[in-house]
Amino acid sequence: MTGRAIGRRQILAGAGVAALAAPNLARAQATPIRIGEINSYTAQPAFLQPYRNAWILAQEQVNAAGGINGRPIETIFRDDAGKPEDAVRLAGELVNAERVSLLAGGFLSNIGLALADFANQNRRLFVASEPLTDALVWSRGNRYTFRLRASTYMQSAMLVEEAAKLPAKRWATVAPNYEYGQSAVRWFKELLTRAKPGVEFVAEQFPALGRIDAGATVQALAAANPEAIFNVTFGADLTNFVRQGSTRGLFERRRVVSLLTGEPEYLDPLGDEAPEGWIVTGYPWEQIDTPSHTPFREAYRKRWNDYPRLGSVVGYDTVMAIAALLKKTPSTETEAMVDAMAGLQFNSVFGPIEFRAIDHQSTMGAFVGRTVLKNGKGAMADWRYADGKDYLPSDDVVRTLRPQA
């Protein structure tokens, strides 16, 4: 659309009315670049409120610094209420009625996949921020979809590295009963068995997402008497699991390796009941003092009078990635943007990352550490940044995982 408008103006200019056309051109450059953002705001507010706050912060920063070649960026947010079919409809609305240049967002995996398929069908760029499913970039990956967040596979692989160092041989797993939980358990089993032959998995539990019967689940795990536990539950399920587990002594003399538990979204609600000594992936926001993170944390605090959650990092970096993309490519024409996105490098809050050309996965990493109690609150200790690029399969394997067009 924009391209065509400029084209017409150029013709006018060529016809000798340059004097008239020039102010128009100047104004055209100041028209905002629109981003369509779709997420499950009413269904998942705990993660997505900090996410959107940081998104707005990032957008303000980009625009205050002069925008993209003088053009500000503008975001139109839409709530899909957790339904993929609504997300697809809203994507159509954003593209056709609101004339956005690209789509972004997604929290739930199935919505991410629905939007990715929409993007592929309609030839639009979709920058998936949060959905973790591996299918998004591998088995159902497509030319128009890129993903920022470290995937289920990557985060599982980070934890397997730590789990393999433990002496434990008998493992039990507990995960929410949907794709994310199931594939996390599958990868963990596969990678751990490869890294440490001889481990056995003696029990698995798959409570329904958001409806864990924590007492029975904990008891069922304890009955198998494992030496270590791999946990994938999060949110309310995690809280209930931890409470029942600690009262019943499930975690005593057992090591627990746990996905996402170090994220403030899930660690903070536990308050002084946060478990100690779990090996987790997460985000120790108060301890990361790097040149890229500290200014972000302070700016977020100043703008929202609150501390950043991991969702904030994801929201902020999605905008920064898009800004970097728009600076790299001269037009907002989809194919040009997609080409520029492949291999795009930018400085994220966690340091420099790249959207890999091979599978459109970014190399954003995660922090791996141990949970401790500090001042009556859960925190991470002995953490390190696990760079995402070190936890992806080799290129040959990736090529077999992703359909090669």
Partner: protein, 615 residues
Amino acid sequence: MENLLLQALSGLASASSLFLVASGLTVIFGVSRVVNFAHGSLYMLGAYLAFTLVTQLPRGHLGFWGGVVGAAIIVGLIGVVVEVLLLRRIYRAPELFQLLATFGVVLIVQDLALMTWGAQDLLGPRAPGLRGSTEILGLRFPLYELFLIGVGPVVLGLLWLLFHRTRWGTLVRAATQDREMVGALGVNQRMLFTSVFFLGSLLAGLGGALQLPRESVNLHMDLSIITEAFVVVVVGGLGSLSGAALAALLIGELHAFGILVLPKITLVLVFLVMALVLVVRPHGLLGKPEAAARGGQGSAAPLIGPAPPALRRLGLAALAVAVLLPPFLGDYALSVLTEMAILVLFAASLHLIMGPGGMASFGHAAYFGLGAYGAALAGQWLGAPMLAGLALAPLAAGIFGLVFGFFCVRLSGVYAAMLTLAFAQIAWSVAFQWVELTGGDNGILGVWPDRWAAPKLVYYYLALVLCLGATLLLRRVIHAPFGYALRAQRDSTLRAEAIGIDAFRIRWLGFGLAAAAAGIAGGLFAYAKGSVFPTYMDIPRSVDALLMVLLGGVHTLSGPIVGALALTGLQEQLVRITDYWRLVLGSIIVLLVLFFPQGLAGAARARWEARHGDA
């Protein structure tokens, strides 16, 4: 062995919690016949209020238990407010209409809770004196769970005393059996209903408040408890307290032991139990058949004649707009219109069994979803072109409709509705967990229309023709002898059977036909969206269908059509305008319910008749 005992105790604790919530629901239903969808919201409010009170009050026994009881009482009062301001005004509305009102309350409470308590999960303090655990056979078991195990029977005992040893309780039991007779005997029904609502809401609030030391308080509590509470109530037998207790026990224990054998059964277990119980015992474990409706007087809806000329003209005008306007619209408007056409058919198909058929369905989305999956699977595994997929959709949905319907139509009222829900959830969980076939919750992608139908305008006309055709066919069915037979068995099964109508067969075929029509809608929806997910047959979509029919009015086919257009139109607009669309939508629903208790189309019809005489 020790482990099994502890597993049983864990099951008891869950059963006890479940019973508290379900007891309130069953008491309310028994007397007022209100399917109170907002019961889960009251439970959630109980937990949030208890959190606020307990953390504000001084620590210690008084602060904690005072906070819990205080929260329960406040929730009881909230229940009274809802009853007095809202439900009291619509007791005379058609059956299940109150469900629409309570659903509005659910939406409002969700946003109010988010505004008041924020998005982050809250973890309440533990109960003083019951923080730790005790040793049972050398294994540790939380004291608070033991306490909860005790609370259930105590509450059951107190309720039994209340209902059997007080005059108020006697009246409530009498009203549960025959509320018209109780009214005729001069009992103040208003007071009775309001006080029952207070008690039921208080129990919900107490159930929520007592979860505080056990679980985190979060915004998903309302919907995660409400279906299970309904299952317990129905499995136990509507209005039966001891039945609810038995059902809670059954479900709590089956769940505790079920996950030892089949860890992935968590999604579907309660619905399997419900389906089995209802197939074997159509009135739940301890329920009694509902008192036979007194005669046929008054309850039979008037026969619907041909549409009055004004309505006919309006319909033609709408049709003209639907045909002539789209070429001038953008792609997005077209996709919204396509969706509306599909949902009109979906609502109309539910109306066939709800209106003329007289059976509610809480699981109509199953057939929508089965149609969508039928089309998508045919495309994915057989490489079927779009038209073949669209032809297969009603076939798949219709066959399952006949299979499920065979069991459902034997039951009546809420039991039948809940059995449809059970089958829908079983179908949903199969789609969700059979990853190899259906892709699980990640769904089936790439279900796009054939090339010739890919332009939005072409697809819109295709959907319009099919949906309009199917809807008109349904209308024809209603006005055909089959439709009259369907209504006859609705108004009086006995009389219908006496004149030789096989009521079961008529209902069964009606159910299958409605399922097939929903399947057409589902198939069209799949190609319109390009993907199919288990959410297509999940509870929210079934609820949407119910809302559309109830909002429009169950009496005529124009009801679901108006309802579908109104609900999708409202939702589509509100989501774009405000973050608090649930609050606004809920308020609108509540207001519509108050001012149009016959539904939108029903209200228009009443107004028309008042002005022009009987049409």
